[in-house]
Amino acid sequence: MAKQVQQLDRVIIRFAGDSGDGMQLTGDRFTQESAAFGNDLVTFPNFPAEIRAPQGTLPGVSSFQVHFADHDILTAGDAPDVLVAMNPAALKANLADMKPGTAIIVDSHDFNARNLTKAGYEANPLEDGSLAEYVVTVLDLTGMTVEGVKEFGLSRKDAARAKNMFALGLLSWMYGRPTETTIAFLEKRFAKVADIRDANIKAFKTGWNFGETTEAFMVQYEVKPAPMSAGTYRNIAGNLALAYGLVAGGVASGLPIFLGTYPITPASDVLHELSKHKRFGITTFQAEDEIAGVGAALGAAFSGSLGITSTSGPGIALKSETIGLAVMTELPLIIIDVQRGGPSTGLPTKTEQADLLQAMFGRNGEAPVPIIAPQSPGDCFDAAVEATRIAVTYRTPVMLLSDGYLANGSEPWRIPELSELPRIEPNFATEHNHETRSKPDKDGVVSVASDFWPYLRDEETLARPWAIPGTPGLEHRIGGLEKGNGHGNISYDPANHDFMVRTRQAKVDRIADSLPPLEVDDPSAIDGAGARVLVLGWGSTYGPIGAACRRVRKAGGSVAQVHLRHLNPFPKDLGDILKRYDAVMIPEMNLGQLSLLIRAKYLVDVVGYNQVNGMPLKAAELAEAISDLISTTTGDLDAARPSDTSKEPVK
């Protein structure tokens, strides 16, 4: 039977099931197929903190959303076009995000009294008409899977576990995805268990064939590859890109990497990944606690390694004292905070940006630490290299603020040419840097003795020399007590303390001299007066803010966008840029932490747009807020509004 093929410019699919149903794997495979096909894409995995929450319940629902398109896109999408629900709880937990007219594919197998009750349904939604406004396809995915793989003689439980591959096969048919990568993946993944391997491949193919032959689906959809600039691409998640960036920082600086860390969601993948790459001289030390992780990294830094520690917000709280010691000893150290919902244990698997002020101020005393943030999963690579540059060049701890959305989300990444990597020079001290002249003796002869002063600074960067153990003649002692300027011995002198406090701050401020000018994105300034409203952001909100600005512009509004990579120090041109606009909005997944810093430093009365629900910002809602601000600012209350659609406009 010939099926109709319909062209679409983008699709958002959400796979949802029990946390043991393999939804993350299903979504990830669909993503890899789409990446191999050449679509632009953004993904959003969303899962509970419990490894196996009670089966069939709402807290146990795990989902993976993938947005793929024939053009450049910025977010995983506000609302799905297609929901694949593997059980009643998955349907119930995700229905609120579905707009009328969207498609829902349901595995009916678990829609029995027991599971309906567990999900909190009083009546079966597949039968009571409550889904009337959606295009619902009810299939016994589990039953068909078990039937399809019976030749392998698996237990019913094992056979049913392949249902996610059946679903993947069906969706792969529906959207014309290439299947080779998934089959190759399954062959490798289950290489040691032949029957499981064969059952999964069979289920995947059976799902595909079912789509092709069933009359339940008469339309196949096509989303063409997206035009991308020349280069080699791969799909990459933020934590993987971050780990690769750290490896690159080690190679670019020629320093052995020492990662001292402690497992914590959502940062542990950085440890897992780096532990695979000992080949690059990388030591990964899983410490007894967060404090030991950063302590060992600082010790390794003292002895000449690129010291790194990785954690999430609660871990930063524990590491603060050691970060203060790194400030005082002025040693290179990279501190990675993959932010999650807080305070305290908070929402371990959800995203948030509420550690900015902790990164900025979370230490005793005046303890300035440079802060940088990646803006997309692939950008985590560049951010890690930049953190290395700053840490090594300025002999300072550097805080890198990723978050749960960047960590687990993925996007196509143009693999960088390594000739683009900056050269990072450790410039270890090897010689005396100071001379002491004696008073003239009775014959008027002045003797000169050379020695090593660990706190004599580079005039340009204010960095102190990095003299590592094993270097003869440079033996010295450092520590947490205040240092005398230059010689570095303990000093309690009031004037010296004041000077050293100001010098440590000045050193961090000097980093701004090395930063490129900010990029202001404002199409209306190219051939017009330009926007009067600026949206300023940082970190993972780059995608939603960019998508929101596109919506506003498509509706005829003018808005400028600036996104900060460097949060401490701010780029030197930020103040001038802020003053060019009548209104500045700062969207953040916190209660206004960047807003506070911008207000304090530049006395600009910024407008906050704040959401702290553990989820990425929604572009459509943000676009509304930006339009409101434009109306208020320009006095044009009838200004064009973005249309109410969940679709992300083309740039």
């Binding site: 890899q32 990446a35 191999a36 050449g38 020349a230 280069g231 080699t232 691409y233 791969r234 799909n235 990459i236 690769y244 490896v247 690159a248 190679v251 020492f258 001292g260 790459h277 000992k278 080949r279 690059f280 001289g281 030591t283 030390f285 410490a287 007894e288 606690d289 404090i291 030991a292 992780g293 302590g295 060992a296 010790g299 390794a300 830094a301 003292f302 002895s303 000449g304 390694s305 010291g307 004292e321 050691t322 010691l325 000893t329 690579f381 960088p416 390594l418 153990p469 094993g470 003869p472 003649g473 440079l474 033996e475 010295h476 002692r477 450092i478 520590g479 947490g480 011995n489 303990i490």
Partner: protein
């Protein structure tokens, strides 16, 4: 009584392998920094510093390859007074920082200087984990059974009932026995010595330096300001013979005036003190620090009073071989990186791995 001999002649473990040696002789002056020592007059720390400054030249290592890391407390000022590399870090964290150094650099001799509060209270976690990992660190634990730098609160080794500024009617804490703790934490080298016995102190330090792995050396150290006399029993000529139980490898454990007391196995599984006149000589416990089973070493550690000190074994309790964390970690890296002559090309391979596609 005579100073115990502990025998460093044929130490089996090359604790300093990989650390470059010095060409010529060294002296204590070379190891003495230009900083003024600022401990209280009469502090036991002076004696330990002096012993270490004299002992380090004997190791014959290159001075620039020696690193001292300390935490916070009176004794933690130690690194400032040695002209080696050093870090006076933060409270309790010295073993963690030193673990990073020792793991990253095979060519360094790494020492930790800590006190009873620093190591056993705020830093207890790092201390026990360093021991179980067996990182090649030498930990000198100065035990004065009091908080000195904060001016006289009870410490985790103070005796029950101790009256201090923070316990005006007596402490209700039960103390740690640092040697028992170390043995329970799987330490491969555990010893105890005394600040006032320079010869024994130096011998123990030599044995610790020779040990490959974590060496925990508890040093009884008198605080003349806040806990003076805590170790009177072992320092007083009238009582020391009965107070010090010397542990000498391969010798029956006897002490007291003219060896009048000895140690035998007790019915309950531990050990006990007897009058040597009352037992056959062959029943006396022969000390064996190299016994792989730590049970007897632990039993010996229990002879130390938890309360006011009246008697305590002094010497090496345990000295066994076990692969070190840092050697194994470095070996994994060495194996993995064999043949890696172009890191940039390897990096290009790494980031180009996985499913890729090319846009022309």
């Amino acid at each position: 009584m005579t100073t115990p001999t502990i025998g460093t002649a044929d130490l089996p473990f090359p604790g300093l392998a990989g650390v470059p040696t010095n060409d010529g002789p060294q002296n204590r002056k070379e190891y003495t920094s230009d900083q003024e020592v600022r401990w209280c007059p009469g502090c036991g720390d002076y004696a330990v510093l002096s012993a270490v400054q004299s002992f380090l030249p004997e190791l014959g290592l290159r001075r620039e390859n020696i690193v001292f890391i300390s935490g916070i407390g009176c004794s933690s000022r130690f690194p400032y007074y040695l002209d080696t590399y050093g870090m006076h870090s933060i409270h309790g964290r010295a073993p963690a920082i030193a673990t990073g150094i020792a793991t990253a650099r095979e060519d360094l001799s790494v020492w930790v200087v800590t006190g009873d509060g620093d190591a056993l209270s705020i830093g207890g976690n790092h201390l026990i984990h360093a021991k179980r990992r067996n990182v090649n660190l030498k930990i000198l634990l100065f035990n004065n059974r009091i908080y000195g730098l904060t001016k006289g609160q009870y410490s985790p080794t103070s005796e029950p009932g101790k009256v201090t500024k923070s316990t005006p009617v007596g402490s209700v804490d039960f103390p740690f026995n640092p040697v028992s703790l170390a043995l329970g934490a799987e330490a491969t080298f555990v010893a105890r010595t005394i600040d006032s016995d320079r010869k024994h102190l130096t011998q123990v330090l030599s044995a610790a330096a020779a040990h490959r792995g974590t060496a925990l050396v508890e040093i009884y150290q008198n605080c003349p300001i806040f806990n003076d006399g805590a170790f009177d029993a072992i320092n007083n000529p009238d009582t020391k013979a009965d107070a010090i139980i010397p542990l000498n490898q391969g010798e029956p454990i006897t002490f007291g005036v003219d060896g009048s007391k000895g140690i035998v196995r007790a019915a309950g599984g531990g050990v006990e003190v007897v009058d040597t006149a009352d037992v056959a000589p062959e029943t006396l416990l022969v000390h064996d620090a190299q016994n792989p089973d730590p049970t007897t070493a632990f039993a010996l550690s229990r002879l130390t009073d938890a309360g006011i000190l009246h008697q305590s074994p002094i010497g090496i309790f345990r000295q066994v071989e076990r692969p070190t964390y840092d050697d194994q970690a470095r070996a994994q890296i060495k194996t993995a990186s064999e043949g890696l002559d172009d890191p940039m090309a390897a990096l290009a391979n790494l980031i180009n791995g996985g499913d890729t596609w090319t846009i022309l």
